[in-house]
Amino acid sequence: MSSARPAAFGPAAHVAPRAAGRRLLDRLLARPSIGALLGVLSVGLFFALQAPGLLSAGGVATILDIAAPLGIGGVAVALLLIAGQFDLSIGVVAVSTSLVTALLVTESGLGTWPALLLSLVVALLVGAVNGLLVVTTGLPSFLVTLATFLVLQGGSLALSAAITGSSRVSGLVGAPGWESAVEVFGSTAQLGGGRFRISLVWWLLATALTTWLLWRTRFGNAVFGSGGAPRAARELGVPVRRTTVLLFLGTAAAGWLIGTLGLVRLGGVQVDPALGAEIEFIVVAVIGGCLLTGGYGSTVGASLGALVYAVAREGISLAGWDPRWFQAFLGLMLLVALLANGVVRRRLRAVPRS
């Protein structure tokens, strides 16, 4: 009876395949990181013409050195953005956990490694508080992490002032375990005319790990689902809450890693009040193609975004411009990235399936 009729005119319209070249282009544009890749290439080309020193070994080393901590934070924030959440507290977690490490070593006489482990626990606690608050209250994570940011920022300033009398804690060099910590978090390698730091390796590891997690594991699919269709994801049994909390733990751990890299490099920590660093991670992730609305983005893109940032910063400095132009330039990049992402997304939506 009725079954014959829809079958007769149902599928017929859908047989003609799209041209192969067109599909390749669509697939390429569907990659969230493609915009950031074009960004790196165009910004790199622009500044390479302005300041040829940019592409020397020394220039590249400096660029990668600037990009590494940003990239580590950027990939963690990218995962969180894809899941539809936001984290403002990652930079302040970096500062306050390195302050905890420094105080534990200098004031309590703890070895470097136990101190690092304890501050990692502190970081994960902060992440857990952020994540649990967000999933239990349903408050926007922007506000929750803004509160965490303020608490930690004020707390670290007050704590370092109360204990050491200044906003700077130093004198870690020579503590037990310091040498091995420097090997893991602070060693450098001379390659050509540039000194490359080990933070580059950490950054590459973080990017590789998060990329694998995002595209090739069930966890990654849960991240995409949590951001792209939260209600559907919950109804299909995706552990949205667990995923969200884990991602906040991830950004907190990334914050700890950034803090530790800085601490080991400087042999101390300087607490200064600034919101700038918090925004930078998000800017980097958005330049990398992440949508603030969630459900779309890539960690490779965030790393490329960090590279765009670093190239522009070092390029402006090498070209002899007033470094104050950098922020304006970054804002412009962000705007271009937002517009480009919008175009790509509309195109994705509009692709006719025939």
Partner: protein, 273 residues
């Protein structure tokens, strides 16, 4: 209501899911009053009615979003109370919401397997089996009438009917027993509607009990075995395919509309009665 009991006496298969005298209220306003309905395996039950007739409330009750204040749901002849859509889902009731179950920027296969992805390898290296997932998703989509689909393309590239098919294919693949399809109110082309109808037929032929909610009697009559007419939250008619042809059904659905208007004007003319 009476037909539901009559058909069981006919010696037909017992219903998979049954609603008995279900009443739902929003505040003091009844959205459904004593609605009874039996869904059987391999049968399409169409729910017809105008906007505000209680179609959405009925879907919400069956899929576990709303709990009835009176009456009961019986699954395999045992009373059940669903506390959440997840629970209804785990008991084999898959709901295809109007357009909600798709993450538009995720690929087709990621949407298809969301929450139940196939993996391979041992734990620290356990990873998605992308090749198998793409293959299964493409096969499942072909089964419901969308062949030749690239499972790696974003779901946003699918048209409205194809998105519904994706959700229906998912329900079929993961072994649902009851399929609730809430037809989108958004305009669809005839080909797209036909696609949805065809996947509904596929689901029926696979032995699912289908509840198909629509406002279009022509489309309903193409696939429906039983027709439940809703009006003002009440069952205005419970008919089988043998009872009506397309014209009768169209007249009934449209006639319900006219009768409501007539009733309203009569009440306005004689407020004391």
């Amino acid at each position: 209501m009476s037909t539901a009991t009559a058909t069981t006496e006919d010696g037909r298969t017992p219903p998979v899911l049954e609603l008995r005298g279900v009443t739902v209220r929003f505040g003091s306003v009844p959205a459904l009053s004593r609605v009874s309905l039996a869904l059987r395996a391999g049968e399409v039950t169409c729910v017809l009615g105008e906007n505000g007739s209680g179609k959405s409330s009925l879907v919400a009750v069956v899929s576990g979003l709303l709990r009835p204040v009176e009456g009961e749901l019986r699954l395999d002849d045992r009373p059940v109370r669903f506390r959440s859509p997840q629970q209804a889902r785990s008991r084999g009731i898959a709901t295809v919401w109007q357009d909600l179950a798709i993450a538009p920027l995720m690929s087709v296969w990621r949407n298809f397997f969301l929450g139940a992805e196939p993996t391979r390898g041992q734990w620290p290296f356990r990873r998605l089996d992308v090749g198998r997932a793409e293959e299964i998703a493409a096969q499942a989509m072909a089964r419901v009438g969308v062949p030749g689909l690239d499972p790696a393309q974003p779901a946003s590239a699918l048209q409205a009917g194809e998105r519904q098919c994706l959700a229906i294919a998912r329900a079929l693949h993961f072994g649902a027993r009851v399929l609730v399809v809430d037809e989108p109110t958004a305009p669809m082309t005839i080909a797209q509607r036909a696609l949805v109808l065809q996947s509904v037929v596929t689901a029926r032929d696979s032995g699912l009990a289908v509840l198909f909610v629509t406002h279009n009697p022509q489309y309903a009559h193409l696939v429906g075995d039983r027709f439940l007419l809703l009006g003002g939250g009440r069952v205005a008619g419970d008919l089988t395919r043998a009872d009506v042809d397309v014209d009768d059904l169209t007249r009934l659905v449209a006639g319900g509309d006219e009768l409501t208007r007539l009733g309203e004007s009569l009440r306005a003319a004689h407020p004391d009665r």
